[in-house]
Amino acid sequence: MAAMRVEEMLAAAEEQEAEKRRSITVEKELELEFDLGNLLALDRNPPPAAGLRGAGPRREALLRALARDNTQLLVARLWELPAERAGGAGGPLVARLPEPAFRLPREKPPPRPRPPTRWEQFARLKGIRRRKRTSLVWDEQAKEWRRRWGYRRAGGDPARAWLAEVPENADPEEDQFARLRREKRERVARNELNRLRNLARAHRAGTAVPAAPLHPTGHQSREELGRVARVARVSTASLGRFQPRLPKEPAEPPSRSGGKKRRFEPLLGNLAAERSRQLDLLRDMGSKKPVLDITRAVNKQLRQEEAEAAAAKGKKQSQRGKRGRRQQRAGR
């Protein structure tokens, strides 16, 4: 009998071990293709066609089993990757994923090219091509190669130019240095103006310009700013759910119609649902109240002290009463 029992126990234990091992081994006809960089597993095995026809619990069970098996294989592959502990000895075990091989398709359409600037249009018209310039120029005076512009440029430091020739047709009283400075300032300003004009043109031309959603400087309408702020808020990984609100932003998300029409519950809607909602609201409101009410605690303490004081006074009076009267009589 004892031997039979032991045999039974051993058989049961072995059965359990086999069961455990079965749950982590998966048999597949065709091997899966893995792209561990994207955590992707491609299963090219044909699915059991008969089982998947029609909706139902059997189909669900089949699909779930299929998903479970494939996930098991993927996880087994992940465990084979080189792993390390993140954040020191006690941190979690982290696997180092290889580079992703599978190219995911674009989520949004590619950006449209910006319209050509005025110079680009003119150059195309005239057939002017861009010449590649050398970055270094031979400086005759310093007898070495110097850069074309910038620090230690060829041609000497313009700030230390001590001579400015008066051109032939210029006024002899005019300050040449001031003229040079003024002309440089004008050139810079004109350049900047043209750059902004190009940007504005690009902005105006494209309706959904991804390159410049907001007009570069000034001329930003209130609606545009609001729209861009809203888009920026939603452009986080959690779609703006945990973004802190700006100081004057409203707490509720603004409605889709832009705040023109308010929508309410129907007048004679589901009254039971309304009641349950109100009860939930009451519960929420009640739970937020602090369990310890400071004023009540203080009042309780005061009352206790008063009661003690009153009791002590009463005792003293009763004691003094008898003795006092005797003392008084004795004193007299």
Partner: protein, 180 residues
């Protein structure tokens, strides 16, 4: 007429909680029928489902009032409780104040309750707690806010205010046309 939004319901419940605490549940969830709150022209009404169904047939411009008016929302969306809610506050009140017969009339004319007119007050009343004011014969006269806690009431001088007046039944006569 429409149901209250979430924010409006919260405002109303917070106000009611100051006077009746967690007994609001008894108003919301009643065993003898389904009662609800509806908003009509900035006033909050409390009525049964039966009455609501009948009132829904009345055109909006002709409808003056329905059920019991609990109060109104001011221009800046603050909720103000009115004396017509007293019938529902009095039986569920947590903190009560009884007023001596001599100063009943003073309270009913809209004055605050002084220490000299104070008959009884519930123990553990905190300062600025919502209270319901009764006469010595346990007739509800109105409601207000306690200016002093029960402890302080004992020590303060007789001319000090102990209950700020908020609403009293005398308003039924005084501001007859303002009540709906």
């Amino acid at each position: 007429m429409r149901p209250l939004t979430e924010a409006e319901t919260r405002a109303v419940f917070e106000k009611l909680q100051r006077y009746i605490g967690e007994n609001i549940q008894l108003l919301v969830d009643r065993p003898d029928g389904t009662y609800c709150f509806r908003l009509h022209r900035d006033r909050v009404y409390y009525l049964s489902e039966k009455l609501l169904k009948v009132a829904a047939c009345v055109p909006r411009e002709s409808l003056t009032a329905l059920g019991t008016c609990f109060g109104k929302f001011t221009k800046t969306q603050k909720f103000r409780l009115s004396v017509t809610a007293l019938d529902f506050l009095a039986p569920y009140a947590k903190y009560k104040v009884w007023v001596k017969p001599g100063s009943e009339q003073s309270f009913l004319y809209g004055n605050h309750v002084l220490k000299s007119g104070l008959g009884r007050i519930t123990e553990n009343t905190a300062q600025y707690q919502g209270v319901v004011v009764y006469s010595m014969a346990d007739v509800p006269l109105g409601f207000g806010v306690a200016a002093k806690s029960t402890q302080e009431c004992r020590k303060v001088d007789p001319m000090a205010i102990v209950v700020f007046h908020q609403a009293d039944v005398g308003e039924y006569v005084r501001s007859e046309d303002a009540l709906t």
